[in-house]
Point group: D2
Chain length 353, copies 4
Amino acid sequence: MSKISVAVLGATGPIGQRFVQMLESHPYFEIEGLYASERSEGKRFGDAVKIRDHKFSDEALETKIRSMDLDHISKNARIAFSGIPSDLAGPTESELAKKGVAVFSNAGSHRMDKHVPILIPEINPDHAVSVKRQDTYGNGGYIVTNANCSSTGIAPPLFALDKKFGLEEVFISTYQALSGAGYPGVASLDAVGNVVPFIDKEEEKMEKELGKILGGYSDEGFKPASFRVLANCARVPVIDGHLESLVIKLSSSPSPEDIASTLSKFRGEPQTLKLPSAPEVPIIVRTERDRPQPVYDALAGSPERARGMATTVGRIRDGNGYCKMFVLSHNTLRGGAGGSMLNAELFKAKGLL
Amino acid sequence: MSKISVAVLGATGPIGQRFVQMLESHPYFEIEGLYASERSEGKRFGDAVKIRDHKFSDEALETKIRSMDLDHISKNARIAFSGIPSDLAGPTESELAKKGVAVFSNAGSHRMDKHVPILIPEINPDHAVSVKRQDTYGNGGYIVTNANCSSTGIAPPLFALDKKFGLEEVFISTYQALSGAGYPGVASLDAVGNVVPFIDKEEEKMEKELGKILGGYSDEGFKPASFRVLANCARVPVIDGHLESLVIKLSSSPSPEDIASTLSKFRGEPQTLKLPSAPEVPIIVRTERDRPQPVYDALAGSPERARGMATTVGRIRDGNGYCKMFVLSHNTLRGGAGGSMLNAELFKAKGLL
Amino acid sequence: MSKISVAVLGATGPIGQRFVQMLESHPYFEIEGLYASERSEGKRFGDAVKIRDHKFSDEALETKIRSMDLDHISKNARIAFSGIPSDLAGPTESELAKKGVAVFSNAGSHRMDKHVPILIPEINPDHAVSVKRQDTYGNGGYIVTNANCSSTGIAPPLFALDKKFGLEEVFISTYQALSGAGYPGVASLDAVGNVVPFIDKEEEKMEKELGKILGGYSDEGFKPASFRVLANCARVPVIDGHLESLVIKLSSSPSPEDIASTLSKFRGEPQTLKLPSAPEVPIIVRTERDRPQPVYDALAGSPERARGMATTVGRIRDGNGYCKMFVLSHNTLRGGAGGSMLNAELFKAKGLL
Amino acid sequence: MSKISVAVLGATGPIGQRFVQMLESHPYFEIEGLYASERSEGKRFGDAVKIRDHKFSDEALETKIRSMDLDHISKNARIAFSGIPSDLAGPTESELAKKGVAVFSNAGSHRMDKHVPILIPEINPDHAVSVKRQDTYGNGGYIVTNANCSSTGIAPPLFALDKKFGLEEVFISTYQALSGAGYPGVASLDAVGNVVPFIDKEEEKMEKELGKILGGYSDEGFKPASFRVLANCARVPVIDGHLESLVIKLSSSPSPEDIASTLSKFRGEPQTLKLPSAPEVPIIVRTERDRPQPVYDALAGSPERARGMATTVGRIRDGNGYCKMFVLSHNTLRGGAGGSMLNAELFKAKGLL
């Protein structure tokens, strides 16, 4: 069976590089071309690589970057994986959808659009059908987004707890990695030995997107879930892995053990369907007193094949009517390229591609 | 007028070094001796120095460390500033108080004792008299504690808001500096590029101490304030300066501008009394979108003489019924040695020494 | 064919952990037991893990650490891989050799002993036979050392250049990783944002060991090579990977291209014998203007199966009669556990085990 | 006596900010205006500040940045302190000199020009007169440069040793701070936990400039000193302070004690003239086994008033015919703004302004 041709947009950035990594030997997809801004046109992909923990194939390293000719892309690729900045992503992705391309996007531009899902296959696989209501669907084109990197990791535990115990409020503080700011991103003079308590639009995104993800979808559109989200976002000198502290108010008062058990047992459709990038266990619960930690758990900590795709939860504590925990997930894998990859795999499995 | 003789206990640690720094040219106090564990006995103070931003006098650098002979200390020093670890601080400080020494302690051991105040002069100067009920007071000895480093910085804004608007709940996540763990403290293999979401007993301390500090004192003892505190504590690769994210529920719903104004205008007894180590402005409100930051604001950011003694607040935002902000304070100055120094200065001013 | 039983000494340290990593699915060797000081006895190996880039098997993570009962080890293990500190390594390794164990050691204690080789199989495989002159050889026991972590990486390029062009002098400055100091090793207060220009005995080791490694061996013992080595050693805030700047005086004046070509083409006995841990290409020459860099090249940069076992050389420049270059190698893999592993593989291949 | 008006060019960069710091209460000079590229025009200086260890005055913080109108500058300022990038510095500084401004530049553009001195007042105050041969001198304008940041710190010890023992060769490896790359400079993804063994044109600068600085000047121009310099340059994750390892070949073979004594006793014209920014002791020799270190010695380590203006030398060792040492100096103070400041002070003292 021949593989589906995919284009990677924004291939030189931290997210784009992870797309390439995940596509190197993917069972469904094969890279048609790597695309980025004109500034990068003609450069070797290998000259852009900033990933510390993956060895790319020589074929990938030698691939020349192309500029984003949308006609060319739409003629040669069924799917576009998009890791381009939001300002550019808005019109580019719309145009590609019009030209019949299935766009799986990591950008924020279209997330709150009427029939565009913010898809996390473990949580809201039923939102996938919303693409059928997009104007471009008849033509074969549509846009599917994944959540922003700081929402993706905490969404599965919040969803699992909501289903079982009813979620009322969640107070989040983030400890976000530098790779989330792209490249060159944060200047080293601001990063070394410092914390920057501000990430542009991040808190607003978290406070809106989580409700849409955990909410419902009908022909009229998305109906957000009703719990309250409050976020404080900060950048810390960590390379990969967003850590977040959570204080959660539930409708009932489960013990930490109940919560741990609920999270550990949680499985979703990607696990049932055995999608290629799905972690066997989507939520890993750690019991040590000082975990999860970015360098030990964001990537290497996953016991299953799909490294960097699970969420790790630790320090589940009772908080006097609230539940406290720390949650970690890999921001450029599960929270970036991996989120879109899993979405495309779900679409393939559901026959929507 | 001759100065009061003081002993510094635990002089080789990050807190002890800050005591020495603040005492080098203090108007009330002069160093009688630097004390530490037997392991350090006879070493030069200069060989222990880990402070990056202060140039000690040659006299201080050449001072030989002594082991903690409590008889010697009680005969030669009126005050002991204590920066020793909690397990040792418990019995040592009790013994010194028995021997007639006024102990101003940074350790946690006696903070929750019946008539021992956790004193922050801007907040609860009326708690100072509690020492008169300590058994050793007749003898001239007593124990006064300062709050733990992560509570000290946020206590003044919480107090100012409580007085004006009524404080109901506060959810805290900390981004705590490495110097708070002492020396050698956190191993570099765990610190570089990482966050450790655990600090032993820190969350419990914050959840208990803040209530005592903002509560009342009568002859029966301390009566904690009734608001709820929930804390998530983490260590980040920052040298000095604890940053904390706060979500605060108040009895009324002031605007961010009201809150900023209330915090900016706040003054306490140290400001009225013009205590030597008191910051002119105890709470500095910054309006930039990305401040406060540890490296820029914990120390050098203070516009007044007493560097590292003010709390900096920034990013005051409305949070849908809650108020959100980031708060920064210097953990080994205001949150350590400086807290005890200011307490001793208050005692001097009140004639309690 | 049954595998050879091996004991790992000092299994909880950075080197010991790398031994476990390399042994998890080794074709010749299988772990008999993990040993460390009494302090660690009975603990799970998983609780000591500080490696950021490897996922250990559950079996390894659950293994209980044993204390170093030398009788037990000698009865159950043919080989001891030693990652223990030098002060302890001296007597322990001697005793194990007496009891008939083949000791492959990463410690410095026996490196300059009369018939103990400092073995780097690409360079001096002929030194292996020196073990036959050790007193304990008749009993089956002997000691083989690998070079210290900062000598190992630069030895292959120095050897390749010596053979072809004649080596006269080398001036080395090191940028050494934190993992080389063990755990807890360097305090984070000394490491973050800092460089420490001192590593105990490191310069002396480099200045002596390289001559022995590149020298000759006969029945009378080792005869050091005659070039001059001068080293300046410093610790930088890097997790893994020792970078070193070299200024080299050769007997002739090859061009940078000649040097690059000589290094790239270099192969040794491990490559001929296809030893399991041998890199296909022992010296990787990079041509970018800013490589090698620890995070990109120490581990993931190797294009061949045996990650972390090759030396990477870059920035080869002409220096007015001297040759300048930067060299990088992984200090706990090739410069630690991997060096001993390759030595044991060579012994197996040569029938010396 | 009225102060001399000075313009600061490139005031928003790390060097420019240090100019402002040093000028805040300077006895000879007062700031006429802060200038930078058009992009910064109209911004508050306070919004650009990246210095962690200095508290600027409110007046400085509120100063609005102007764009570089050379006519305006030449009419209003006698001196221009230049911290602008080299490509821009070339024509800008020439033009200002033509218009009669005395330019004290930190840029590399004119350093190798025929009658432009690379001035270090402790070393070559006699080079100052070279400005009289510049074409623009009649008009009152000229250009004086300071050495690049990695040459400045090591030049005084090399000069002191050359005078006493004869300097033949020096092999240098640098550990250079991030602030040397300007702002935003090095991306944090490349800096955290990493070393970059390349700084554009830095090695070439060091290998040329040191000879000119330590050489002679006559009416025919500069005659470089004849010793050989070989440099390997690398960037490390340090904020301020360039550390460098040196291997030095001298004509005679002094003991480490002789060398230490020669360096400690060294004084130059700035010390005799008591120039405002001159360190009392230009070369501080430390005897601890692990110093100098950037965070402890680059700034706070100076025992004299002029912080960040001395060079610190440590680990002086005998190297088998060579002498080895580590040298540290503050790259944006002595190696940047402070170098130019001292040059201007020398010109003032010599009546050349």
